[in-house]
């Protein structure tokens, strides 16, 4: 089993009202010095077997097709090793 993580973020030029709301709350809570907040989504996909190139290609397809909307969002994929393989990035 391997865990593949897909991070989805709103594109930099797309307004992120949720991130803005979080950012606005921070000074009220006494946390100063945060210049900006962007809010995204993290998906953890448990993959059967090793995260081979073939399987990662499929995860890219999943990310493009369903997990993100390429019109407004970017995504990044990395693998979290579960059998002592450590972290990989793809």
């Amino acid at each position: 089993m391997a865990r593949v993580v897909v991070d989805v973020m709103p594109k930099p030029e797309i307004l992120d009202p949720q991130g803005k709301a979080v950012h606005g709350a921070l000074p009220r809570l006494g946390f100063d010095g945060v210049v900006d907040v962007r809010q995204g989504k993290r998906f953890e996909l448990e993959i059967d077997g090793e995260a081979t190139e073939e399987k990662l290609a499929e995860v890219h397809k999943i990310a493009e097709t369903l997990l993100s909307n390429p019109v407004i969002e970017d995504y990044a994929i990395h693998v979290e090793g579960s059998s002592g393989a450590g972290k990989h990035s793809a």
Binding site: P17, Q18, L66
Partner: protein, 222 residues
Amino acid sequence: MKIGVVTFPGSLDDVDARRAVRLGGNEAVALWHGDHDLSGVDAVVLPGGFSYGDYLRCGAISRFSPVMGEVIEAAGKGMPVLGICNGFQILCESHLLPGALIRNDHRKFVCRDQLLRIENNRTPWTSSYADNAEITVVLKNGEGSYVADDETLDRLEGEGRVVARYLGGNPNGSLRDIAGVTNEAGNVVGLMPHPEHAVEDLCGPGTDGLGFFTGLVERTFA
């Protein structure tokens, strides 16, 4: 005309949309998200609501429902399709329309009577309106801010594909005050405000919305 109205789990305005279709002089056919055929309808309305709970992104799950496979195929062959509110979001997620709808810039749900200008009356859904007609219908959305890159927006404007524009103030942050757009062929229309809630004098802001549901009939008998 037989106009199908799709009900997804979480649709809210399917009953009102069917009523508007009937008041417009058409036969309303209830379609279900799990249907694998369109029951021989001549056109389809995707109604407003929160299909699949708006999980993931508004319209993102609905886009892959069995009935949408049929709708996308039929739209490609020229069948008139109207997506209202959540239906507009589904059409964007389906790539039948360009752009996307994101959370309102002011972060609040907005519910009010909204003035619009119909800037394209050449679609099957807007053909009963006069050129640049100004109408008031209901607007109610939390994620109604229309966005697309500048190139896409310029193309939409240049090709006359902005179907409706907000007047009297932008209610949700939509770029260039865009309230509705159409595809290249002009048969698919997405609209954020709700004409189906403005079809009777008894409730709502009047009957300005009825035109969206009478155009197809007029075309049939033209």
